[in-house]
């Protein structure tokens, strides 16, 4: 007589609610955020299900962070232990999958990370370091995986993840989010299509406010899944933000727990990592149970919010049409990416862009000028001249993972030859071939 319920997919859970950490006492990123989610997971008895295994998170060491970020002046001045545990939790989740201990994993960790860029001067959009990117680069370093797809279903555009993988065509970044004209961080449009060496590998689908369940699932079926079919990733990661929920206090969408469960069922990611989601009582407990059941391959049809009604997740016909056109247009751009790349970058040997990056937690403004060598052999050498309105000034040089001999040589030469007098806070070289971060 066996009373335990058995999961179809072995699922690893890393649950780290950080019950003793908050950005500030009344901030949405506070101790209480995952309290009711924990209650719901416990009450549903999910950890008793055979095949669902919970693992302890750990503190990611600094070098794991440095593989992705250049923290100014260094990791320890920018991050707290909570950030390192969130990143470490994601790493544990990823390792369990690649070690074959489980088929899938879900890292329910906080604080989130998808607004954290390569260069870190502070916290933005509740994020300081990018949990998914740190996990993915750890996994790439230790296991044989090449092509990774990140599907970011947080309501906010994951501008940090976009920045980190801007030049990397082995990492396809797809973000479905509320249109940046109506929500933080204000970016995430189709024109943001990737750097010159990875053009088309950054796909944004800005959905209009009041998009309902139907709209999300339409975008999944008619845009995300066809692109993934084409790309054929070795690993699919879901940045599982839960702020598209109809009850979320800081967004305007109409998604539900059922919807999130169906999305994960269809998307079938190897690893899901929690991002945002601030309806901590009305949404998160149900959404997380839905995602856990869907990932484990179990019946989620009974999961629903107590106040659910079909009207809460409906959308207008105008929105339905708009989303259909948006999906069509974006899918076509993806299919024509080589052609578009040639049109934009033919005859150029480098590309320079300037931008301003706002850190809302500190109220700090960063000014970047980024130059990237166009390279047919690798993701291309990049360097960023970055200064802030607080007077900090650095040069950051990035030699990519797969750098060709030329890009490696030029990167080292730039690091050697640039005078430190101009950059008062130092010159950094992130050398991914050697897997080191140098500073002078």
């Amino acid at each position: 007589m066996e009373r335990l319920y058995k999961a179809k997919n072995r699922l690893g859970l890393v649950f780290f609610p950080a019950f003793d950490w908050a950005i500030s006492p009344t901030h949405p990123e506070r101790e209480e955020r995952l309290l009711y989610t924990q209650d719901q997971i416990l009450e549903e008895g999910l950890k008793d299900i055979e095949g669902i295994e919970e693992y302890r998170a750990y503190l990611a060491p600094d070098n794991e962070v440095e593989r992705v970020h250049i923290c100014v002046p260094d990791v320890r001045s920018r991050v707290t232990e909570a950030h390192l545990v969130a990143a470490g939790g994601a790493i544990v989740a990823g390792r369990k999958v690649l070690e074959g201990e489980v088929d899938k994993a879900f890292a329910l960790v906080r604080p989130p990370g998808h607004h954290a860029f390569r260069i870190v001067h502070g916290a933005r959009g509740f994020c300081t370091i990018n949990n998914e990117a740190i996990m993915i680069e750890h996994l790439r370093r230790h296991y044989k995986i090449k092509k990774v797809a990140i599907v970011d279903t947080d309501c906010h555009h994951g501008d940090g993840t976009q920045d980190i993988y801007w030049h990397d065509k082995d990492t396809l970044y797809i973000s479905i989010h509320q249109d940046g004209r109506t929500l933080y961080p204000g970016t995430g449009f189709l024109e943001e299509f990737g750097g010159p060496n990875a053009y088309g590998y950054n796909l944004n689908l800005p959905l209009p406010p009041e998009t309902g369940e139907e709209g999300f699932l339409y975008a999944l079926e008619n845009f995300v899944l066809p692109v993934l079919e084409d790309f054929k990733p070795d690993l699919i990661v879901n940045s599982a933000g839960q702020d598209n929920h109809y009850s979320d206090p800081i967004t305007n969408m109409r998604f539900s727990a059922q919807g999130y469960a169906r999305l994960n069922d269809r998307l079938n990611p190897h690893i899901a990592v929690l991002e945002g989601g601030y309806s901590i009582e009305g949404a998160l407990p149900y959404v997380n149970v839905g995602i856990i059941l869907a990932l484990a391959g179990l019946d989620y049809s009974f999961v629903r919010e107590p106040d659910y009604s079909p009207e809460k997740v409906s959308q207008s016909p105008r929105i339905t049409d708009y989303i259909a056109r948006l999906c069509e247009e974006t899918l076509q751009a993806w299919q024509k990416r080589e052609e578009l790349r040639a049109r934009h970058f033919q005859g150029k040997d480098r590309v320079t862009r300037r931008r301003r990056i706002y850190y809302d937690t500190e109220g700090l403004m960063e000014y970047q000028q980024e130059t990237t060598l166009i390279c047919e052999e690798c993701a291309g050498l990049s360097w960023i001249d970055s200064h802030t309105d607080r007077g900090s000034h650095i040069l950051a040089i990035f030699i990519p993972r797969d750098a060709c001999a030329r890009c490696q040589k030029e990167g080292h030469a730039l690091f050697e030859q640039t005078e430190t007098t101009f950059y008062r806070d130092g010159i950094y070289l992130q050398d991914r071939v050697e897997d080191v971060l140098l500073k002078k």
Binding site: V14, P25, D39, E44, V85
Partner: protein
Amino acid sequence: MLIGLDMGDTHTDAVLIEGGKVIRHRKSLTDREDPLETIRKALEELLSSCPAEEIQRINLSTTLCTNAVATGQVSPVGLLLEPGPGLNPGLFACGQKNFFLQGYVDHRGKSVFPPNRGEIEEADRELQRAGIKHLAIVGKFSPRNPEHELFIRQCLSPHYEFITLGHRVSGKLNFPRRIYTAYLNSAVYSTYSVFAQAMERFIEEKGWKGPVYVLKADGGTLSLSPSRSLPVETILSGPSASIMGALALTPVVDDALILDIGGTTTDVAFLAEGIPLLEPQGITLGGYPTLVRALLSYPLPIGGDSQIKIEGNRLLIGPLRLGPCRALGGPCPTPTDALIYLNRLELGDKAEAKKAIQELAHHLGLSPEKTATTILREMASFIAEKAWRLLEKINSRPVYTIKELLLPRILKPKKVIAIGGPAFYLQRELEEALGLPVEVPSLAPVANAIGAALSQPTAELTLLADTALGVLTVPEEGLKEKIPSSFTLEQAKERALSLLRQRLSRLAPQSQGAELEVVEAQSFNMVEGFYTIGRNIRVKVQVKPKITPLRGESNGKAI
């Protein structure tokens, strides 16, 4: 005089302790058909010449409920569930009749959707028609707000013999386990009630004065008459009696490992600074995971009577027990035969043990001497390997705060206490395999009964206060009361301790001296918009676990 009795599947052990010393102990065979008679006889013989008024306390550990479940001798149970949204509730329909009722209480204890009287009354009629007399009413999140369960009971006709309410079985959150626990409690109610009544009558007839307690799986006791409404608490108390016995015989203040080596299995348990670890959720019985609080005890499929066979040219010990050792006429060689061969133990027909070992030696191409020592070494290293793996798992349990992650409490046993029949003869091999000093107390074979005799009442309580809702709930007591918005964590702790004191005096009237402690205390700011609207306070209190050590060992007199 303190009396302890542990009725196991095969043997029933009883001890009499006076002035901190074991005065008498007695081992008899368990008659599984008539457990009451087994206990009566054991007590009568143990107490034959004792003055009735000198008996201070009788503690009983029985397998009555455990066996009732194992053999299916249980009453049919009607389950009235209020599952709300979540997992498919059909999975937990373990009753003879199951009803999935409307209504929902959420994680904060808010009644989101009310139960429906008409639906309940219809279920009531159907249960009546089916002649079901035992019910369990279980709602999701009922420990957060018991009102729906109470309402359902109130809507039923008064014709039932016994009804278990989910919130009364535990304050822990786990709906499936709450269902199973409540189900089992109602299923064994009749069997247990008949036994408890007969026991009370018997003690009264004998004129024995001391109160009667029953053992629980958490190494504590509960007095006999209140145990009738919580019979599920008495399941699987045997392993805990042994752990408590080991502790009484060998007081420890450090981390330690306890091994209870039996005929078929070896139970592994751990002590953290001398206090036994608990199962994180509750014990599992007959495939039913429950919320019954229990000492963590992990059975390994190896013991003195484990079957030894050879596969290829490797020795395999266990996991089965086919019978006693060959020296006692069993069908196959066992580690006990190896002990007899090596002259460590005198038992049965030595020539037969010798023959058994020689046969194995022949297959392995080793000397019989070497074969016998290899058997014992392999047995010890199997136990060691599994015990350390279990320890690793315990030490890597998830934690939820940064503080615990940075300063983890790592369990690191400094010694081993081994009890059970074969323990003494395996001491050397165990020390070698575990790399730790192994103590085998001299009364190890009756440690279980000693543990039973010396165990003290235990109880716990969970308090949840939500100052935004202005409500405090204590599920185990079925209590829901109003609190002011200024209610603090300190007040919550005080209230929980005073309620636990009351609960304890009801469950174990003679336990005034017990020390209480707060084991968990958390307070979360609840925020709406950008304003703090209140605090979510969670407190768990318990009777501080305690065992009275024996004052110096005495071998007493076996009768």
